[in-house]
């Protein structure tokens, strides 16, 4: 039994993982020449699910490990803990030194490089919400840390951030709601060196999609459940070894089920979208996919599903904060150096006020997102706050994206500058369901 780490200890554990990693040069920009340019289903092919790993079933009988709620301090406070500052500091550096320079290439490749993914594995991104007793780093639930981490990553590049965070979403879901047996079966591999590519698949490709009205069905039979339907926004689907799929179980409603990619009837279809291209978005086609009865995540409780949807939206809100920050910093620099009519364009109110409004809305949506996160980790009802954070990050996130391009004029429209990518990425925030989780 691991001894309990104090908050400072978790930050040190993260740093230690980085320091002891064999790729010590990781914070330097890597040449991406080594990475395979062509990988499987990137061009629109269909492939069967990846089948690289067999998850050895473990019989559990005990109580699943659960992270404790953080306690209510009773004090209004906007200061992150020392521990959070340390983790965010490391990830910010990683985002600036690795993700940002690799963004354009990752986008062209429609995937995030293995090196980048390995590095986030090295510093334990997937471990943040796995209990210590299962090889993870946490004792307490920290949705706030999750939001801060997502923000820091997305400041580098939202597409790669989503790719890096996808396995963490699955690990977090199993930690939060999985049974003892599911935790014992799956979580050790997330705590190991070779983190399985995996995806939380909630969205479905239709207009006005509502995660509480799913078209994907799981019908009970003798062997367990038979799944049919199409899921979308599946991160790195062709690589994924493990899915958590949201499906409607008659009589029970929307339910999360664990589906291993090697199961017959699982097909992956590349689904390149306007943005987030480095996340390798895919569709997951489920055609009479038979899963055992214990594939239902945990007890399959309606409350668990509801919480999953909320925490996923919270994670997307966190990502919007980071990309919004990237836009703000980029345009601030641009408008003060670009001249027109003999002076920096920032000297014009029409320009300066747009930048001021980006900053005002970004700060507002950040505070609401953090409030939702702090309520989540304290075990308070956070449905309202998540809905508000989602509205703000969707509405003003997109406004920031479009103003970012506008402020650069024609230069914003071409790929020489990253603002057009941020524009495309930010559109995702208000419509995504699943994929990431804090």
């Amino acid at each position: 039994m691991a001894t309990r780490r104090d908050p400072m200890g978790i930050g040190l554990a993260v740093l230690n993982r980085i320091a002891s990693s064999p790729t010590i040069d990781k914070l330097k920009l890597r040449k991406t020449t080594e990475r395979a340019v062509y990988e499987g289903a990137k061009g629109g092919f269909r492939v069967a699910g990846a089948t690289t790993r067999a998850f050895k079933r473990v019989k559990g009988g005990g109580k699943p490990a659960r992270l404790a709620r953080t306690s209510d301090s009773g004090v209004f406070d906007l200061q992150p803990t020392d521990d959070q500052q340390m983790i965010v500091g490391v990830i910010k550096e990683f985002a600036a030194e690795v993700l940002r320079p690799a963004a354009a290439e990752a986008e062209t490749a429609n995937d995030t490089s293995k090196e980048v993914l390995a590095q986030t594995g090295d510093f334990g991104l997937t471990l943040l919400n796995i209990p210590e007793s299962l090889g993870g780093l946490s004792e307490d639930r920290s949705a706030v840390t999750g939001v801060l981490v997502n923000e820091a990553l997305a400041e580098g590049d939202m597409g790669q951030a989503v790719a890096c965070l996808a396995p963490a979403a699955v690990a977090t879901a199993i930690s939060l709601w999985g049974s003892d047996a599911q935790q014992q079966t799956y979580l050790p591999s997330f705590a190991g060196d070779d983190v399985p590519a995996s995806a939380l698949a909630v969205a479905e490709p239709r207009a006005l999609f509502d995660p509480f009205e799913l078209a994907t069905t799981a019908v009970e039979n003798d062997g367990g459940y038979v799944l049919n339907g199409v899921k979308s926004a599946v991160v790195r689907g062709s690589e994924a070894e493990l899915f958590i799929v949201a499906a409607d179980v008659r009589g029970r409603g929307p339910t999360l089920l664990i589906v291993e990619s090697s199961t017959p009837g699982v097909t992956i279809e590349a689904d390149p979208s306007m943005g987030l291209r480095a996340a390798g978005l895919s569709r997951l086609l489920l055609d009479d996919v038979q899963v055992p009865a214990d594939a239902v995540l945990g007890e399959g409780a309606a409350d668990d599903y509801r919480e999953c949807i909320r925490l996923s939206r919270l994670a997307w809100a966190g990502l919007a904060l980071g990309t919004g920050r990237a836009v703000l910093d980029y345009v601030s620099d641009y408008v003060t150096t670009r001249t027109a009519f003999g002076e920096p364009i920032a000297h014009r109110q029409a320009v300066a006020f747009m930048v001021a409004n980006i900053a005002i809305e970004l700060e507002g949506m950040r505070l609401v997102t953090l409030k939702a996160a702090s309520r989540a980790e304290q075990g308070l009802d956070f449905s309202r706050e998540v809905a508000l954070a989602r509205r703000l990050t969707s509405e003003y996130g997109m406004k920031i994206g479009t103003d970012g391009v506008q402020l650069l004029g024609g230069h914003g429209f071409v790929k020489e500058h990253p603002v057009e990518r941020w524009y495309r990425d930010l559109r995702a925030v208000g419509l995504m369901e699943g994929a990431v989780l804090v």
Binding site: Q79, I360, E363, V368, L388, A389, R391
Partner: protein
């Protein structure tokens, strides 16, 4: 540890403030909206109550007078503080949930009191204790460009002689003193602008007339004339020297403390409209579901969620500005952000609520129409929306007032 819940120690006091606001302010809301310029005598009793709360220390800053200076007690050094800036904002939100105009009419809680609290020295703080101070900055020819004021103060022996005309003086008639901005020497620019506590009992200061307004009609808005008004030299607030290096900073420091309060007014007023509108919508059969995607819900439900989101952002920006002040961190930009966001969404929300409620919202049968009139001033006074954006942009882009005009 990041936590954005209402501080535990203020929760009972806020509950109390809410009840008081309901009994004394909300109950008289329509009455003084209709009877513009009538003195809201119900507030006298309330003011004594607030004074009592302040003196006993239990009030945690029940009004505008408490912001700014606060003691640093040694035991709490290094610890995160929730202090009087925060409690004042929270209190004002409750009061303005009830009625902005009546809050502004609260005896001894004028914006001039905030100015005193922000820039006065200890001796002045003691001497001016208990006064009800209005604030007089704007002039007929000078609004947002307050550095341009022409009211003059000329040193004459142990007094300054003030001459000029001030407009839009909130509580100008009812207050017993006025904090007047005047220039010692127009040629020296903003550094020469000083504020003076002018008791209305002095000869040479008079109320010329009262305005008739779109909203906050319960609050009197006066034109004040200073005609060779001799003010004791020791009533100059802050430093009497003209320090051209420090410039306007001294006079402007007040705003870092008062802007979050005005933002709080907008937050409180908008909350009132949201609450009543929600009730009316639900009566009309609208279901607001936070979990279902807004785009799959009714227009009214989606609009409501959008308004609530803007409201929450305004609230938290306001609390952030107050929190920074309580913890002695610079908050100029955040105070302006709060004022900008709360000012505009307070106005948008209340107007949208009238629209959603239809003729019911438009009619004097409900208070929603009143809040939609009251909210407009909150995007104007203590620095308009545009001035807040200027301040934010200058700070953000590191531009001077001559670069970004």
């Amino acid at each position: 540890m990041i936590n954005l819940e209402t501080p535990r120690k203020f929760r009972p006091f806020i509950k109390q403030a809410h009840q008081v606001a309901e009994e004394f302010l909300r109950a008289n809301s329509r009455k003084y909206d209709l009877a513009e310029h009538a003195y809201p005598k119900e507030l006298d009793l309330l003011a004594s109550l607030v004074d009592g709360m302040g003196d006993s220390g239990a009030g945690q800053g029940a009004g505008a007078a408490a912001v700014g200076n606060q003691d640093d007690d040694k035991a709490s050094k290094g610890k995160v503080k929730n202090g009087t800036n925060m409690s004042s904002v929270l209190s004002i939100i409750e009061m303005c949930w009830a009625d902005v105009g009546l809050l502004l009419s609260m005896p001894r809680q004028g914006l001039g009191n905030s100015a005193i609290a922000s820039v006065a020295n200890d001796e002045q703080l003691e001497r001016f204790k208990g006064t009800w101070a209005a604030m007089a900055i704007t002039e007929p020819g000078t609004g947002s460009d307050s550095a341009n004021i022409v009211t003059t103060a000329v040193k004459d022996g142990d007094a300054y002689v003030l001459n000029g005309e001030k407009i839009y003086v909130t509580s100008g008639e009812r207050a017993d003193s006025v904090v007047v901005w005047a220039t010692l020497d127009k040629s020296l620019g903003r550094a020469a602008i000083k504020s003076f506590l002018v008791p209305k009992s002095l000869p040479g200061i008079r109320v010329e007339r009262l305005e008739h307004k779109l909203g906050i009609r319960a609050s009197d808005t006066a034109v004040i004339v200073l005609d060779n008004c001799r003010v004791p030299a020791e009533n100059l607030l802050g430093n009497p020297e003209i320090d051209t290096k420090q410039g306007f900073a001294g006079a402007m420091a007040t705003f870092d403390n008062t802007r979050p309060l005005v933002a709080g007014m907008a937050v409180g007023c908008a909350r009132a409209a949201l609450e009543d509108t929600r009730e009316l919508l639900e009566k009309a059969g609208v279901v607001i579901d936070y979990d279902r995607p807004a785009q799959t819900q009714t227009y009214a439900a989606a609009t409501f969620i959008a308004m609530e989101a803007d409201w929450e952002a305004a609230l938290l920006l306001t609390l952030e500005a107050a929190w920074l002040a309580d913890n002695r961190k610079p908050n100029s930009m955040e105070a302006s952000m709060a004022k900008a966001k709360a000012g505009r969404v307070g106005n948008d929300i209340t107007l949208r609520c009238v629209e959603l409620a239809g003729t019911l919202g438009y009619s004097e049968n409900e208070l929603i129409e009143k809040w939609s009139r009251d909210s407009k001033i909150l995007d104007i006074f203590e620095g308009t929306q545009q001035i807040q954006q200027l301040i934010v942009a200058r700070r953000l882009l590191d531009l001077s007032s001559s670069q970004l005009r």
